[in-house]
Symmetry: C2
Subunit: 262 residues, 2 copies
Amino acid sequence: MVVFAGQGDARRSMALLWQQEPENSLRPGPKQGLDVETIVRAAVEIADTDGIGALSMRAVGEKLGRTAMALYTYVPSKSELVDLMYDRTLAEQPTEYDLGPGWRAALTLRANDTWDFYLRHPWVLQVSQARPALGPNEWATLETTLRIMVATGLPPRSVRQLTGALYQFIRGVAQTLAEATYAVRATGMSDEEWLSARSGMLAEVAPDFAERYPTMAALSAADSSGPADATVPYLQKSTTETFRAGLAVFLDGIEQAIAQPS
Amino acid sequence: MVVFAGQGDARRSMALLWQQEPENSLRPGPKQGLDVETIVRAAVEIADTDGIGALSMRAVGEKLGRTAMALYTYVPSKSELVDLMYDRTLAEQPTEYDLGPGWRAALTLRANDTWDFYLRHPWVLQVSQARPALGPNEWATLETTLRIMVATGLPPRSVRQLTGALYQFIRGVAQTLAEATYAVRATGMSDEEWLSARSGMLAEVAPDFAERYPTMAALSAADSSGPADATVPYLQKSTTETFRAGLAVFLDGIEQAIAQPS
DNA sequence: CCACAGTACTTTATGCTGTAAGGAGTTGCA
DNA sequence: TGCAACTCCTTACAGCATAAAGTACTGTGG
């Protein structure tokens, strides 16, 4: 068997994720004052309210009346803690969707649930997807969406691709909204305040805006759903709207793929 | 890591972005040994190869034979530097697309160019979209895509929503691929090595995998486009494929919207 | 009962980060 | 020549993850 560098660490974090740490009741030394779940809960609370930027080992320790170093008794490192936060939080998402009313209804519900989940835990969108931690709830999340997508009757390859595409679309849109939420908290400035401040400066620095960007100017004028002064807001229009419209178009596209298999 | 745009001296950073800094040839004191563009170019080089995590004022200064503090003569802060990097880099993207062959051909080209752009500059995906810097090339990028989307004949509101949705979809998918690129460089471990190491551990820790996640197991077995041992790879299948498939479905959905206006 | 080993937790230290403050040296103009 | 403005440097500070070492506690074997 080939042994890869760092596999020992990886094995421990896998055990933590899948909650298969060995029993340790009869050991010498002081009793444990904390446990992994308590630490994870405290960390999630910090991340929920102040973003992953505010998540430090010191902050978590302080919240639990310990120093930062005390946490290392329970968790190998910060990145493992984040993996645990991620997987434990994913457990909140529903796993059962009624396929009776058809795949489209179920997939719409699922997408909306995912959307709401990201708004509840915006920091989740800042966790890298490149090397997933492979915890039980990450798999469960994927399994749930796949089960719905299979009901489209599309071939396995398409099911995989479109599940990924839908997932990334939702992530992308939610990320912008999540970052905006944190920006408001971090700067103490609402989007509206920020926009009106920038609008004025933009006019100063780019007086030829309408000639430079004619399509945008024309669209802003024609799009009555926004304020009259509509150059800057063009980037900022309701993200929820973007989500709903994009999702509808994507689902229409899937219907198309079902009707006319390539 | 997500980098937020700066909120310091907004007026000064706007002037920098729009290159409207006042002329300064006849001033006392030593000649300037650097300039903003040189600094931005050095910073982009660092971010391109090692990610935005490796971008520090010290690193940029060193690359130019200066200390970190020397940069503050030219740039108000790191976050303003990132704004400048972002806008200057966006200038690489094409702005002209032939609408002769129709909107779908143009939008496909545009999406592919954007995709390639993100692969060339993965760090761009780590720059927060919440409070955009509002530089000239950010607007130009939006203008270009809008011009194509307008050719669909859809109403202004839909043009705005679907442009945003398409943009976020591409960003989402590219982000995963970009993070994977950095992960390989940071860990010195290819995705394949990483996968086979984790596959074994997963089997140890979750021997009941197939019963727990039956849909995934069935799909893995049926999806002949991947390796036989196909549980873990399910998350990791070619991201480029996800991009192409998702894009096609999205464009199909737009065609549907054109044919049957709601 | 005592020595020891293993544990929980703390303190201290290292090398990073952005950037504030102050100082040294250079230059153009009055 | 003196001064003011300027570039760039050194130093300093707070905050970060975490390595290393120290302290206090507790169960077990002798």
